[in-house]
């Protein structure tokens, strides 16, 4: 890479590229999520400090790697955040937007770096915009007029002339301050101005302290309560620890009569303002007559200050999770090996039972079978552990949706709240990697077509805010993911009409409601009157369904006109090793994933009826649609068809199907092996496996079989 080759004097930066990318992606994600939180909360010092540190780290790492554009942007962002955390600027919508734009831009640049390309994305505009904002802040009058996310009620008379007070903290007070910082509390200097000729100023100070103690802790008051009463000053400063936003503190204090102005700034003594503090505290050492204690301490404070800056741990209350990063290739290799072990074990079991058949009472045979049994239990445990290695919390996918919804809501002028549940639900990593896009599409769909505009919602008696709920949970042997909105619901009549108009169904075809909704998954279907760029081009839904069925899952819709729509996605839990029911169809053996099997039946051929061209049988009062695997896979029929057949009832949730097979062979553990790129998309086939006897067996894709039968086609 030309950008990095010449830098850093012979150290090969390429080695560190992967590490840099991993780290930077994390920082950017944190920055993005933190900005969204900041938008909601306003002036939270702990949060702003974290954002500052993220920008700072990014800048440093990118500088080392020589990625100048990223450095330029993160440097300007860092400046902006620095001013925010010092209280010299207020958090505003404009600042949040521009910082979010920066995270987007850096993400794009990181992608270019990842692909070993030059960074070509422009950044000068963003940088100069940020510099503009900083320049503007220098003029305090304009600042008062800026639209703030949280407005601080400060009287104009109070000059924006912030001076760091010398609180002359003694040892216990300093310790309290440092401990609080480490725990993520903000330390603030609260300057209070009293009305002229206020009597009993000390009592006002007591009242102020009282209010602040209600939301934090007051370390000190300067001048002291006694001095306040004797002297002529009409203001005092409090050193306060608080985890509430500045605006809340101000509001509380200004409710006290005779308090005319409140100015609150983060108290950063010990972080970068060390010089000032040490100087002013040495002055205090000189005054012998002082009611303040332990004057020797300040020197210590100064010395500590030099150590503190980098030493301050991340105060956001992170619980250290003990994890290590593992190369996914290594993990896949491990899983492969375990898979092979499972197959080999099955062979051993086969051999063991063959031996038993031949040498019933031989001790060695018995020993072998016992060992096999034990091995089986070990294999189960090993398998489970290995499968869990691949499990990733779905929260990692959910993470990008708040931002998506925020931006889409802004774009469409709708007010939408996104509720995330079940973020801890774990999925196989391959599923997690692929599920993001379909979910994103469904969410976009909800925003665009589901949730109505605030006016429409109010008109129909709903709240202005629409809610989209994303939920993930384990349901039996599957994972269910729900995307629910409380919007307009699907117009089933409209859908039906369009399907007829597009020739997707016959005009007189009677469909139950649940299936009309599913029509939107057919290719070429779209009810959007005009094509918006969000969704509605008619290529979306069928792609979603396809992507999901590739994962062996299905999607279902429930909707009520005027109330909302819910998409329910069901996915099998694991993809690599499964329990399967082996069945014989003609001369072939197939494996049916046991998790999708509800039951097996022995059915008389005579009981199989044909309705609308499709075979079915009555099962406990309901109609069970059937599919003949012999026909489906175009296998030669046996010479003498038996009078009875086995039907394996399979399905997900409410959708069921019966597979007509000739024989049931039994249950077995099976390792799914992909068929490779050439054969990947065979309808009805999910993969292949090798049985104990060495034979290759195809594994059925229940999802796609269901789709064939249950989505009506002409």
């Amino acid at each position: 890479m030309s950008q990095t080759d010449n830098k850093n004097m012979g150290v090969d930066l390429k080695e560190f590229l992967d590490f840099y990318l991993l780290d930077s992606h994390e920082q950017i994600e944190r920055l993005g999520a933190g900005l969204l939180q900041l938008e909601k909360e306003g002036g939270n010092i702990g949060l702003i400090n974290d954002l500052f540190r993220s920008a700072h780290s990014l800048k440093g790492a990118s500088g080392t790697m020589g990625f100048t554009p990223i450095v330029a942007m993160t440097h300007a962002a860092e400046d902006l955040l620095d001013r925010l955390r010092q209280g010299k600027m207020d958090v505003s919508l404009e600042i949040i937007d521009i910082l979010l734009a920066v995270t987007d831009s850096v993400k794009g640049m990181l992608t270019q770096v990842e692909q070993r390309l030059e960074i070509t994305l422009g950044y000068e505009d963003l940088v100069s915009s940020m510099k503009e904002i900083i320049k503007r802040e220098k003029n305090p009058v304009t600042q008062a007029n800026q639209q703030s996310v949280r407005e601080i009620e400060t009287e104009e008379a109070w000059e924006d002339d912030f001076q760091l007070r010398d609180f002359s903290l003694d040892e216990s007070e300093s310790a309290k301050l440092n401990n609080a910082r480490i725990m993520g509390y903000g330390a603030y200097q609260v300057d209070v101005k009293l009305a002229p000729k206020t009597l009993m100023k000390a009592v006002r100070a007591v009242m102020a302290t009282q209010r602040l103690e209600g939301m934090g802790s007051v370390i000190k008051c300067v001048p002291s309560i006694e001095d306040l009463e004797i002297g002529n000053v009409e203001s005092f400063s409090l050193l306060v620890l608080c985890d509430q936003p500045i605006a809340t503190m101000s509001r509380e204090l200004l409710e006290i009569t005779e308090l005319v102005a409140v100015d609150i700034h983060p108290y950063l003594s010990g972080i970068g303002v060390a010089e000032e503090t040490t100087m002013s505290t040495t002055r205090v050492v000189e005054t012998p007559v002082s009611t303040q204690k332990a004057v020797i301490e300040p020197k210590k404070l100064g010395a500590d200050a030099a150590v503190l800056p980098e030493g301050i741990p991340n105060g956001e209350g992170n619980v250290p999770v003990h994890t290590i990063r593992v190369d996914t290739a290594r993990m896949d290799n491990l899983i492969n090996l375990v898979g092979e072990m499972v197959i080999t074990r099955t062979r051993l079991v086969q051999i063991g039972s063959d031996l038993k058949a031949q040498y019933q009472t031989d001790d060695m045979v018995t020993n072998l079978n016992e060992a096999n049994l034990y091995l089986g239990r070990l294999m189960n445990d090993l398998q489970e552990s290995v499968m869990r290695l691949r499990m990733v919390a779905i929260g990692t996918v959910f993470g990008r949706f708040p931002r998506l919804v925020r931006d889409l809501a802004k774009k469409t002028g709708k007010m939408i709240e996104l509720v995330l549940k079940g973020e801890d639900t774990e999925l196989d990593k391959t599923v997690v990697e692929v599920i993001g896009d379909p979910l994103m599409h469904l969410i976009r769909n909800s925003v665009d077509h589901g949730i109505e505009s605030p006016e429409e919602r109010l008109a129909s008696g709903k709240s202005e805010h629409g809610t989209i709920t994303l939920d993930a949970y384990h349901d039996g042997n599957h994972i269910a993911i729900l995307i629910a909105d409380d919007g307009a619901g699907l117009d089933l009549d409209k859908i039906r009409k369009i399907a007829v108009a597009k020739g997707l169904i016959g005009e007189s075809e009677a469909l139950p409601e649940s299936e009309i909704a599913n029509l939107i998954f057919l290719p070429g279907f779209s009810t959007a009157d005009k094509v918006t760029d969000i969704s509605g081009r008619g290529v979306g839904m069928d792609v979603v369904k396809k992507a999901l069925s590739n994962l062996g899952g299905i999607v279902d819709i429930t909707t009520r006109l005027g109330k909302g729509t819910t998409f329910t996605i069901r996915l099998p839990l694991t993809l690599a090793i499964i329990q399967a029911l082996l069945v014989e169809v003609g001369d072939e053996v197939y494996a049916v994933p046991l998790t999708s099997v509800f039951e097996t039946l022995l059915v008389n051929r005579a009981d199989i009826k044909t309705v609308g061209g499709l075979p079915m049988v009555r099962l406990r009062g309901n109609t069970l649609p059937l599919i003949s695997l012999l026909q489906k896979f175009d296998l030669p029929s046996p010479n003498t068809p038996s009078s009875e057949v086995f039907v394996v009832v399979v399905g997900f949730g409410d959708e069921v199907l019966g597979l007509i097979v000739d024989e049931l062979r039994g249950q077995q553990e099976v390792v799914i092996k992909s068929l490779g790129n050439l054969l990947n998309n065979l309808p009805g086939i999910a993969g292949a496996t090798i049985l104990g006897d060495g034979k290759v067996t195809l594994i059925l894709d229940i999802g796609s079989l269901l789709q064939d039968v249950l989505v009506t086609r002409k």
Partner: protein
């Protein structure tokens, strides 16, 4: 209905002055008392929205009365009236739940400001 206020002070002149200020500013004075004991009794009967209470009074001083009233009605809104030099008593009153205080001699604006804020 304008907010109801009870005035407690042992000096009749003070009570008159306060009544004047309050009535002219839209508040309704529903009762007066000249010491803590009377205040306590009248409070339970009148249930005023706000009480203005002088600190130095015979029989039972304002601080004591404050505590007694708030024991019976924790939501009681009470503003203390103090003369200079009684700072520590005022502090104790604040810490015992008084909403605010005014210092004699009064300034009408300060009194009204305190009353308005306490009634919020």
């Amino acid at each position: 209905m304008s907010p109801t206020i009870m005035i407690v002070d042992d000096a009749a002149f003070m009570r008159m002055m306060l009544k004047d200020i309050l009535t002219k500013n839209g508040f309704t004075v529903v009762g007066e008392a000249e010491n803590g004991v009377a205040a306590l009794k009248k409070y339970m009967g009148l249930q005023p929205d706000l009480t203005i209470m002088d600190i130095t009074m015979p029989e039972m001083d304002g601080l004591q009365a404050l505590k007694e009233i708030r024991k019976r009605d924790p939501k009681a809104r009470i503003i203390m009236c103090s003369a200079m030099g009684q700072q520590s008593m005022v502090i104790e009153a604040i810490q015992s739940g008084a909403k605010d205080f005014v210092v004699k001699p009064f300034q009408a604006e300060r009194v009204c400001e305190a009353v308005a804020k306490a009634l919020k």
